[in-house]
């Protein structure tokens, strides 16, 4: 499952914040994007055959080295297949940052915006004093 390792290396979560890795919250959802997975898998194979990628090992790698390799892969992906990379990035980031577990770890609300709502203080019109004091600035024209 090379793709899973790659995505988890790109999005390993944050232990200190309590944010889970990608596969823990969004891997099943990513499976719905079958075409994307198929295309990205081809890019992974292509990368593995490249000079940088041929040193990849599917296992026995620390997360740090996987992360370095994943970053190397993302640079390769972005450069060689930019349109697909943008789509991939959009989907994995979207799935991850929509996850309640991730949002809560980031200090965000777990409830959707609606009907929760958000409050703001009433506008203080005193700030407009200098605008008022300048007087009218609209351009008058003949006939209204």
């Amino acid at each position: 499952m090379q793709l899973k390792i790659f995505v988890d290396s790109l999005i390993p979560g944050d232990e200190a914040l309590g944010a889970p890795k990608f596969s823990a919250v969004a891997w099943p959802l990513l499976q719905e994007s079958r075409d994307l997975i198929a295309h990205v898998s081809v890019v992974i194979k292509e990368f593995r055959n490249s000079a940088t990628g041929c040193v990849i090992s599917e296992s026995n790698e620390s997360i740090e080295s996987n992360e370095a390799m994943a970053k190397s892969f993302s640079s390769f992906f972005k450069e060689k297949h930019n349109v697909l990379y943008v789509e991939f990035r959009e989907i994995v980031m979207g799935l991850y940052f929509s996850s309640p577990a991730v949002l809560v770890a980031m200090g965000e609300e777990e409830m959707p915006l609606f009907p929760r709502g958000q409050s703001l203080p009433t506008f203080n019109t005193d700030m407009l004093e200098s605008v008022y004091s300048r007087g009218e600035i609209w351009r008058r024209v003949n006939g209204g």
Partner: protein, 539 residues
């Protein structure tokens, strides 16, 4: 069965016109190619709202790809087209920022020697603006010195700490600014007041934003308006004597049906309306309906848009409150002979987006990185990016246009629409000036890493000018009443008729013009307006 009036399109202009004509006692039907919306499904009802915003609720029809969308080829345009094809039209996804055109916007040729004068004035439209503000539940603060007197608004949308910090920047520079006029209810509890959700431009589940599916249309339907959905109008039928006779509709079943009416009103935005006119060819009108001038589709104006952005040194409340309704400045709205361009622009302060937008923008700018720092990077960047949009007045140019490609057929069985649009020299100079001034404000407001860019490609919301209003049939498509010079009983009531574009969001003025044209329709084809039904005494 024959209607008095058929209105094609249920967006800003079509809804307002249909409402007024129905209230005047006419038998009116409004044909809409899309469906009613289901606010329970709007993105901000879920945590995945940013995914939906970028896909199913994208303003770009080629990304959204709804069944009701039609193909628009923008490969020869500097700006992509944004729209929405459903009941309420683009007001479903608009931000609600609702300024009026200025009096000077109606006479740019006389004042500045550019564009063309309108055959009507701000004063002609003023009573219609006033009624429209009530129906659209406009909030704001009376007394903006950049406008003639306006009043009767709901309380203004709060500007928050973010708005105050940017406003302080404007104050330090001694420049004009004002809280946004917004088509967003801030009224009593019973009127669904705004909850400051943020992303108004994905549809408002609260019903606080005044899209026309929650304002004009329900009220008009109570007075007898028929709204016919899933009905694609493919042709306007014109008699050999040059009189509008009705429309041909492609129904969801695939059947084509003719529907008769005394008057036809097109309000499909400046692309959809031009498309329909150009496709309504006949032996008598081989260039399309109402196109003896050859100007249908020409003079397309799109309001080139640029952004200046910067970072606050800490997170603030810029994700709270209507994203597109905070404050604006008209400091540079009018022509200054010292500058290298004519006319001017709005500086429009925008609030921020959600976590996903922060993450993706951060990756692009190398402020957020893949790997173990990703989440921390996003947390550190979120709620810190302030931005000012520069909304430039676009001058009419005949080379900027909507065409039909007869060699390609879209899902409606109609020729594919092509948009050819390039920024003119005046717009480029104006954009450059605007981005410089927007950067100044952000720097004075103490934002860091300030940058600016424009024109933004994904910004073709304000679609104007493809069936210009004027007195001369050789240089315009409709007369000062909104009726086409060539076809009796064929009116246009959307931004297509705008001779010039102004430097502000056009929805308020589109609706005022549509209400005005509705009165013209009544007076030219049905009756006389009296004190009892005059617009001034109507709402």
């Amino acid at each position: 069965m024959e209607y008095d009036v058929i209105v094609v399109g249920s967006g800003a202009g079509g809804s307002a016109a249909a409402w007024r004509l129905t209230k005047l006692g006419l038998r009116v039907a409004c044909f809409e190619r899309g469906d009613w919306q289901t606010p329970d499904n709007y993105p901000s009802t879920g945590l995945d709202w940013e995914i939906k915003k970028r896909k199913a609720f994208s303003p770009n029809p080629s990304i959204r790809n709804m069944k009701s969308d039609y193909t628009i080829d923008t490969s020869e345009s500097d700006i992509d087209i944004a729209n929405f094809n459903g009941v309420g039209g683009a007001t479903v996804l608009f931000s609600g920022h609702f300024p009026r055109f200025h009096p000077s916007d109606f006479c740019t040729y006389t004042l500045d020697g550019v564009g063309v004068d309108w055959p009507i004035t701000y004063s002609d439209l003023e009573p219609y603006f006033n009624v429209n503000d009530k129906v659209m539940r406009v909030s704001g603060l009376a007394g903006d010195p950049a406008y003639p007197e306006m009043k009767g608004f709901l309380p203004p949308i709060p500007i928050g700490e973010y708005g105050e910090m940017i406003a302080e920047g404007f104050n330090r520079l001694g420049w004009h600014w004002w809280p946004s006029y917004s088509a967003i209810s801030t009224g009593s509890r019973s009127d669904s007041p705004c909850l400051n959700l943020g992303p108004c431009n994905t549809g408002c589940p609260q019903g606080a934003k005044s899209s026309t599916d929650v304002t004009y249309l329900p009220d008009a339907m109570r007075s007898g308006l028929e709204v016919v959905t899933h009905s694609v109008v493919v042709k306007v039928e014109v008699t050999s004597a040059g009189k509008a006779k009705g429309i041909w509709v492609l129904e969801s079943t695939g059947n084509r049906r003719f529907i008769a009416s005394k008057v036809v009103v097109l309000a499909c935005n400046a692309i959809g309306t031009a498309r329909l006119l150009l496709a309504s060819k006949s032996d008598d009108q081989p260039q399309g309906a109402a196109n003896s001038s050859g100007l249908v589709g020409k003079n397309l104006m799109l309001h080139p848009l640029g952004y200046a952005e910067g970072l606050f040194d800490r997170a603030i409340d810029l994700d709270k409150g209507p994203q597109g309704c905070c404050i604006y400045s008209h400091e540079f709205y009018e022509t200054d002979e010292e500058r290298n361009f004519k006319r001017g622009y709005t500086l429009h302060v925008l609030r921020g987006g959600g976590v996903l937008e922060t993450a993706l923008a951060g990756l692009d700018r190398r402020e957020v990185h893949w790997g173990s720092s990703l989440v921390k990077d996003v947390v550190a960047m979120h709620r810190r990016r302030g931005s000012i949009a520069v909304i430039c007045e676009d001058l009419p140019e005949t080379s900027n246009q909507v065409l039909l490609d007869e060699s390609r057929i879209d899902n409606d069985g109609m020729p594919v629409v092509i948009v050819k649009y390039r920024l003119g020299g005046n717009s480029k100079a104006m954009m450059s000036h605007g981005l410089t001034q927007a950067r100044r404000v952000l720097k004075v407001a103490a934002l860091k890493k300030v940058m600016a860019f424009g024109p933004v490609r994904e910004a073709g919301w304000h679609i104007l000018g493809t069936a210009r209003m004027g007195n001369d049939p050789a240089t315009s498509v409709v007369n000062m009443r909104g009726e086409t010079h060539d076809v009796d009983g064929l009116f246009i009531a959307d931004g297509s008729v705008f001779p010039t574009s102004s430097g502000v969001n056009p929805a308020s003025t589109i609706q005022a013009v549509a209400l005005y044209i509705a009165d013209q329709i009544y007076e030219t084809h049905f009756g006389v307006l009296t004190d009892g039904n005059a617009i001034e005494n109507f709402c």
